[in-house]
């Protein structure tokens, strides 16, 4: 399933807010069909990098290519077309609070496709089922859901347009450990089933150990390590040392090796 074509390519990206430099030549490559994690300390510009990938921010320099489209000189029409090919899960869901969950999932289908109402309803129901929510939840408003359900509903909305690419901003943050593992399993299942590529920002060691194929470590304004867990662990950068080589991570890592 994983072939080596960069579905997202980031080359020498430079970002600065006024005098504060966030990225100084960030480069990475996300392959088709993999679950790719972006790691780093808070303030290292993970979210900024993701926002640049999804056309919410423009970097000062460098080049980002997503699904074969260069984002630097992208026109309005191309950008709009591109936006329909990815789904984004925001950290706190960002569901439209005045719409029900079903309407939240349906909104893009309604705007962008000429599908019949009946078909749209079926698609909404299938998305709810896919993320493990009952159809009844579709009638509720976002404020009536628990945190975990909001995440699932937001994931269903992100999947509504059958995207090839899924961006997740801290998908497991704010979930209980059991809920977080279930969410991980869900992401992996969706990837296997629908063949989508997943890019996620995460701090969750469990996710990194269990579902992530490759990752990039952001530190010192650039990518200090990129690759599979084994490759990243070869790095001697202080952040990698702190993050992976503490007692807890070491223990989990040993367990993982034993599992294999």
């Amino acid at each position: 399933m994983i072939d080596d074509i960069c579905i997202i390519q980031v080359e020498g990206v430079v970002t600065a807010f006024k005098e504060r430099v966030i990225h100084q030549g960030v480069s990475l490559c996300v392959n088709r069909g993999e679950i790719y994690a972006i790691l780093g300390e808070s303030g290292s510009g993970k979210s900024v990098l993701m926002k640049e990938m999804i056309l919410l921010l423009k970097p000062q320099g460098g080049e980002i290519t997503v699904l074969g489209e260069s984002l630097t000189h992208i026109g309005y029409q191309e950008a709009q077309a591109l936006r329909r090919r990815w789904g984004v899960l925001f950290q706190f869901g960002a569901l439209y609070s005045s719409l029900t969950i079903a309407q939240n999932i349906e909104v893009q289908l309604k705007e962008y496709t000429s599908l019949s109402l009946e078909m749209r309803e079926k698609l909404v129901a299938s998305k709810l089922q896919l993320v493990g929510l009952s159809a009844e939840v579709g009638r509720l408003y976002p404020s009536e859901l628990s945190g975990g359900m909001v995440k699932r509903a937001a994931l269903a909305r992100a999947l509504a347009m059958e995207p090839q690419l899924l961006f997740l901003d801290e998908p497991t943050s704010g979930l209980d450990p059991i809920g977080a593992r279930k969410f991980d399993a869900l992401i992996a299942e969706l990837r296997n089933l629908l063949g989508i590529t997943v890019v996620m920002i995460t701090h969750d060691l469990e996710s990194i150990f269990s579902i992530v194929d490759r990752m990039a470590i952001l530190a010192d304004k650039r990518v200090v390590a990129e690759g599979s867990l084994a490759e990243v662990l070869d790095s001697t950068h202080p952040f990698v040392e702190r993050f992976f080589k503490n007692e807890y991570s070491q223990k989990r890592l040993k367990e993982k090796v034993e599992d294999v």
Partner: protein
């Protein structure tokens, strides 16, 4: 019909084969229309769906296929599928229990709507009375302990609602004063009663128009701001956070706003009176050639202090109405963003209506007492 991009029919002597091909994806499936096609196949012959030539699919495509496949099983005796990949089968099975349900919010009947409106109205009234009760309790406890008054917040809101509003109040009052003088001068000139323009402008501005214009501008300006500020704090749970820290929102948010507006509004009315009369003065010197000195001399003679005071008394009361409605509406914001807009609108509409209603009440009282 673009069906031929997605399906070809092969009629064999002993069976019919439907070859599916192309992209069965969300962006395409609106083009696939099989309802007539599926009825016109040779009857009583086994039907075979061959999906091996499909180039790409997603869950929408699988759902569509399932729909037609199931329909075909009711129309034909023997139906089978061949050429599917394990992944297609997995997705098919996963989606096999999906039923399209109408998940839109339930529609309300006429009587339910009326009933809800009525109960909603009662609820709002009770909530407002509760709000006022809470407010006066806070007010009382603050009066007993004056050291607890939040001077800094009061000063901030005085600046925001008072000082910053001077320009717009001045402009509005000046224009209103001019309009009154212009309109009045035309009528008065007919009777040769030119000098009565001073009474017309002076008394109407100080008694009625100054307070009313100021209150309406402030209801639109500060009433809406109070609702939006408190409403946004409610949505982001800042108000809950304050409560858990023991900061009573009535003490920290409501009281400073109400007190500040009750101080600011009379001052603004004074300002409005001055500018309004000045506007009238400018217009009458232009229209009736009454010089400014003449105007002011006459003003001393005819404008009794009571007119000014009767106008001024309304200030704190209007301010109280606007500020309490603004804060109350802010607290009424529920946890969706749409309600901020609704409550802000309601705040301004209620505020302006109540200002006018109270003004009418004052007129009746003043007349009854012969003031």
């Amino acid at each position: 019909m673009k069906n031929r991009w997605y399906i070809t029919i092969e009629k064999r002597p002993r069976s019919t084969v439907l070859h599916l091909k192309g992209l069965w994806r969300l962006e395409r499936i609106a083009e696939i229309e099989l309802s007539t096609l599926i009825r016109e196949l040779p009857p009583r012959r086994p039907l075979v769906w061959d999906v091996s030539e499909i180039e790409g699919f997603d869950s929408a495509g699988v759902l569509l296929f399932r729909e037609w496949y199931e329909k075909s099983t009711t129309l034909y005796d023997e139906v089978s599928v061949r050429g599917y990949t394990p992944k297609q089968k997995e997705l098919y099975l996963l989606l096999s229990s999906v039923k399209g349900e109408n998940l839109s919010p339930k529609e309300r009947g006429f009587f339910e709507g009326v009933g809800r409106k009525l109960f909603n109205g009662i609820e709002q009234t009770v909530a407002f009375i509760t709000f006022l009760g809470h407010f006066f309790a806070t007010w009382w406890s603050t009066l007993l302990h004056p050291s607890k008054i939040r001077w800094k917040e009061i000063a901030y809101h005085l600046h925001q609602s008072g000082w910053s509003a001077l320009l717009i109040i001045g402009l509005t009052s000046f224009l209103v004063g001019m309009v009154i003088a212009y309109q009045g001068s035309v009528q008065l000139a007919k009777f040769g009663a030119d000098m009565f323009i001073v009474e017309t402008v002076g008394i109407s501005i100080t008694r009625e128009l100054g307070p009313m214009i100021t209150a309406i501008v402030i209801a639109g300006r500060s009433g809406s701001a109070y609702t939006a500020e408190i409403g946004a704090m409610k949505i982001t749970e800042e108000i809950s956070a304050m409560r858990t820290m023991g900061f009573d929102p009535y003490h920290f948010l409501v009281l400073p706003r109400v007190i500040a507006l009750m101080i600011a509004l009379p001052l603004l009315i004074f300002f409005s009176d001055m500018i309004g009369i000045f506007g009238g003065m400018v217009a009458s010197s232009m229209q009736l050639h009454i010089s400014m000195t003449q105007f002011i001399d006459r003003l001393y003679e005819v404008l009794e202090l009571k007119h000014y005071l009767l106008g001024m008394i309304k200030g704190p009361i209007f301010a109280f109405v606007i500020a309490t409605i603004g804060c109350f509406r802010g607290f009424q914001v529920s946890d969706n963003t749409e309600s901020i807009g609704l409550q802000t609108t309601a705040s301004v509409v209620n505020g302006i209506f109540l200002v006018i209603a109270f003004d009418a009440l004052f007129s009746v009282i003043y007349t009854e007492f012969g003031l």
